[in-house]
Assembly symmetry: C2
Homo-oligomer: 196 residues x 2
């Protein structure tokens, strides 16, 4: 997605060979117009899939997920990263390891919002090791619902997540795919290029 790649080039901050910060438009400050375009692009790629729900995870997934939901005319559910006092029972729970925070999180979704008839599109901001995406897939399948696919805003294609999620049998659509962050430069994969 051209507009997104430009934004990454112009505003992304490369901390090291593995970490790209996009706090100016996605992970801390949010550009609402970019989110609209991201929503349209996910909707275009997954059109015809008869999606009934979008599932994302707090917090950075929410904005792109809501804009996609608006296009597809379906609700969004955001998985929580810890149990809250008002959501104790009747939840699906999966453990997900966060390499960024070096901690095991429990991600949860209330059982009332996922049913076996649901065809679910998973949306997340980044794919790196694939832990969050696979955890969200397990949540959906724990509800006997169907995972239509995974939509990722920025895929770090040089890490193992994309390979793991594809090998698990899921369709992944990533709007920007980063081949490398070496030498403080962002290299994108082109249309059909793959690393793994």
């Amino acid at each position: 997605m051209e507009l997104l790649e430009q934004k990454i080039m112009n505003e992304g901050i490369i901390l090291d060979d593995e970490v790209l910060k996009v706090d100016s438009f996605l992970n801390h400050q949010i550009d609402p117009f970019l989110m609209v375009e991201i929503g349209k692009e996910f909707a275009r790629r997954f059109q015809g899939e008869r999606i009934t729900k979008i599932l994302t995870i707090e917090s950075s997934g929410i904005a792109p997920a809501v804009m996609t939901a608006l296009q597809l005319k379906v609700p969004v559910i955001f998985a929580r990263k810890q149990k809250s006092l008002t959501l104790k029972k009747d939840i699906y729970v999966e453990k997900v390891y966060s390499f960024t925070k070096q901690a095991m999180n429990e991600i949860t979704v209330s059982k009332q919002f996922l049913s076996p008839e649901d065809r679910v599109l998973i949306i997340d901001d980044f794919m790196a090791r694939g832990e969050a995406s696979l955890g969200l897939c397990r949540l959906v399948e724990g509800a006997s619902a169907h995972v239509v696919g995974v939509g990722i805003v920025i895929e770090k294609s040089f890490q193992e997540g994309i390979r793991k999620v594809k090998e698990a049998g899921y369709r992944v659509e990533s709007l920007a795919r980063i081949a490398s962050l070496k030498n403080r430069q962002v290299q994108f994969l082109k249309d059909k290029e793959v690393i793994f």
Copy 2:
């Protein structure tokens, strides 16, 4: 806001005299079309205020804030509830007590996204004790920026937050104002009605 009040009446779950769950459209599952209408209504109420940024707090504030930002054509910043590994220095920090989670949180905003020229609209999902709103106001003022006002989706008018935030001198616009949750019934305040 009529549409929001209807949604609360139809889908809100009253847990006790103080707790209303709206997990089906705001706090866990999100209705994207309702968010669009909420964004339009906040934009209408704060039009002419020359707002330059919207500040909210993860996670439930993000969807209404992004939709308001789209109408006002400005970016959103979401404050984080704890420090992440990639956001260590150069942040504004305020302590906020969460009665729901019975814990003290640190809320943080990166210094690069708030400047003294900013005119900031604060958006949040609920106002109860007012702790989050006042913490967000302090964050803005810590950056020497100006708080234009506070936009709240659901105000629990029977709790002390609204009085505290108004007494601190801030304009508050709440789209649904709840007078009482007693006897498992939602009572709304009408146009000019106030409790405090």
